[in-house]
């Protein structure tokens, strides 16, 4: 008989406290976001694929130095530039990112001397082929404009 009634009382108490937990949950607001219909703010810490940035005059900041290409541990960046006639600096023609290999480590953003690369807020990435994720960032920037 040892513990017969104490089991009953202890069990009853724990059952009641369990019921209280779910009742509180029931009357507190839901946390679900009804995704396609409502969206939440992306936090500044979010790491999307990298994108090029613009300066105050809406020109690409990138100076085509190739630091990011050299520092990338996965070798997924390919910067192509040319020296146009009558200009002193090289200018960027295309900035290829192979997102299938990118591990979002961010060394490219850190190594950039011109602050020309940052993480995008793009989270809706979907495609039908692998080639969809080999992106030309210059073109992407122009499409966005």
């Amino acid at each position: 008989m040892g513990g017969y009634f104490s089991d009953l009382i202890e069990g009853g108490k724990s059952l009641a406290s369990g019921l209280a937990v779910t009742f509180k949950a029931m009357i507190s607001p839901v946390v679900t976001v009804q995704y396609p219909r409502e969206k939440i703010e992306i936090t500044p810490n979010f790491r999307g694929h990298i994108e090029l940035t613009l300066d105050a005059e809406q020109r690409i900041k990138c100076i085509a130095c190739g630091m990011c290409e050299k520092s990338c541990p996965s070798g997924c960046i390919n910067v192509i530039s040319e020296k146009k006639e009558g200009e002193k600096k090289k200018s960027l023609t295309s900035f290829m990112l192979n997102f299938t290999k990118c591990s979002l480590c961010g060394i490219c953003c850190e190594s950039c001397p011109a602050d020309a690369i940052r993480y995008s807020n793009e989270y809706n990435l979907a495609g039908f082929t692998r080639e969809d994720f080999i992106m030309d960032l210059v073109k992407r920037l122009e499409d966005k404009k």
Binding site: Y4, A25, Q34
Partner: protein, 332 residues
């Protein structure tokens, strides 16, 4: 119109209409309760529950029902044919019948049997046989386990149910459902007189409906739905509907015996409303505990019945009997 009515004797018409109403009640209860159960389960887990079909998902259970009806019935090769086909029907039919004797209002009762309570209990125990038939005829070891569990569980839990209801019957001296409701007029509900019996009935009633935390016969995670693993389409739907109708039966009996039935303020006009309000708050309680407690182990289930519910119900019955016998001698 007169001539059509003349063909049917009034008694036959009465039986037909009440039968249709009772079956409609069972189906409507299934539709509404599936919706509310899923919605409440959502809210208890910080979710929204159903949202997609109709405003706040109200049409979801209707659409589910149509899907179940339109699906093909797959009958596995090695099942015991006749038993396999009869089992879902048997799971559904007996759960409709108890509503024939439940007094939903002062004048809203199909039949006031003088053995109403016994009738309800008898029909309640038939459900076990349907589940056992389903599990046995499926020719599947998991279904078989589910069936064995349901028999052991229902035998264990029928005893405290009967004992706790008997202590109310000792006080009222009648088995008639409306007689028991009449005995509670003026706010003297039997939950105040027999709180222990009410608690025992509630726990055993949840176990009797095979719902979580006592859902061992189906136990999705252990037995892959147990006795109804092999059933598809509307055969499964009938088991499902039977479960919700069983819940309503348990709630209706609890309302009639312990919560004063249709008694309440302005009972001449709102009696039925009071009845359903009480019955559905017990249903809410059942849903609440389902989404709170984890499933019990089988030995815990048996311990609860044989070590706690049955002794307490017996003691309660003895005390009630002694009080009914000796208190009038003292006070008169």
């Amino acid at each position: 119109m007169e001539s059509i009515l003349a063909i049917f004797p009034p008694e036959l018409l009465r039986i037909l209409i009440s039968g249709i109403l009772v079956i409609a009640l069972v189906f409507l209860n299934g539709l509404v309760m599936v919706y509310f159960e899923r919605k409440l389960a959502g809210y208890m887990q910080y979710r929204c529950g159903l949202m997609e079909i109709g405003w706040q998902g109200v049409l979801q259970s209707l659409v589910d029902g149509i899907k179940l009806i339109s699906k093909r019935l797959v009958i596995p090769k090695n099942v015991d044919g006749p038993l396999y086909r009869i089992a879902p029907l048997l799971a559904f039919t007996p759960v409709v019948l108890p509503f024939l004797v439940v007094p939903f209002g002062k004048h809203l009762q199909v039949r006031d049997l003088n053995v109403g309570l016994i009738f309800v209990m008898a029909m309640g125990s038939l459900n076990v046989m349907a589940i056992f038939m389903a599990g046995w005829s499926s020719n599947n070891k998991y279904s078989m386990f589910g069936a064995m569990r349901t028999v052991a569980q229902n035998i264990a839990y029928e005893i405290p149910i009967l004992l706790s209801l008997l202590s109310v019957v000792l006080v009222t001296n009648t088995f008639s459902m409306s007689g028991i409701v009449d005995a509670q007029s003026g706010g003297s509900w039997f939950i105040l007189l027999q709180p222990v019996a009410f608690l025992i009935y509630l726990v055993a009633g949840v176990a009797e409906t095979n719902r979580a935390p006592f859902d061992l016969p189906e136990a999705e995670s252990e037995l892959t739905a147990g006795f109804h693993t092999e059933y598809s389409g509307i055969a499964f739907g009938l088991f499902f509907l039977g479960e919700y109708a069983n819940m309503l039966t348990v709630s209706c009996v609890a309302t009639t015996l312990f919560l004063g039935g249709w008694h309440g303020p302005w009972e001449e006009y709102f009696g039925t409303l009071w009845f359903f309000l009480k019955a559905y708050s017990i249903m809410f309680f059942m849903i609440w505990i389902r989404w709170t407690f984890p499933r019990v182990r089988f030995d815990q289930l048996m311990n609860l019945a044989w070590k706690y519910l049955i002794p307490f119900a017996l003691v309660n019955l003895l005390v009630t009997a002694a009080a009914v016998k000796f208190l009038p001698l003292i006070f008169v």
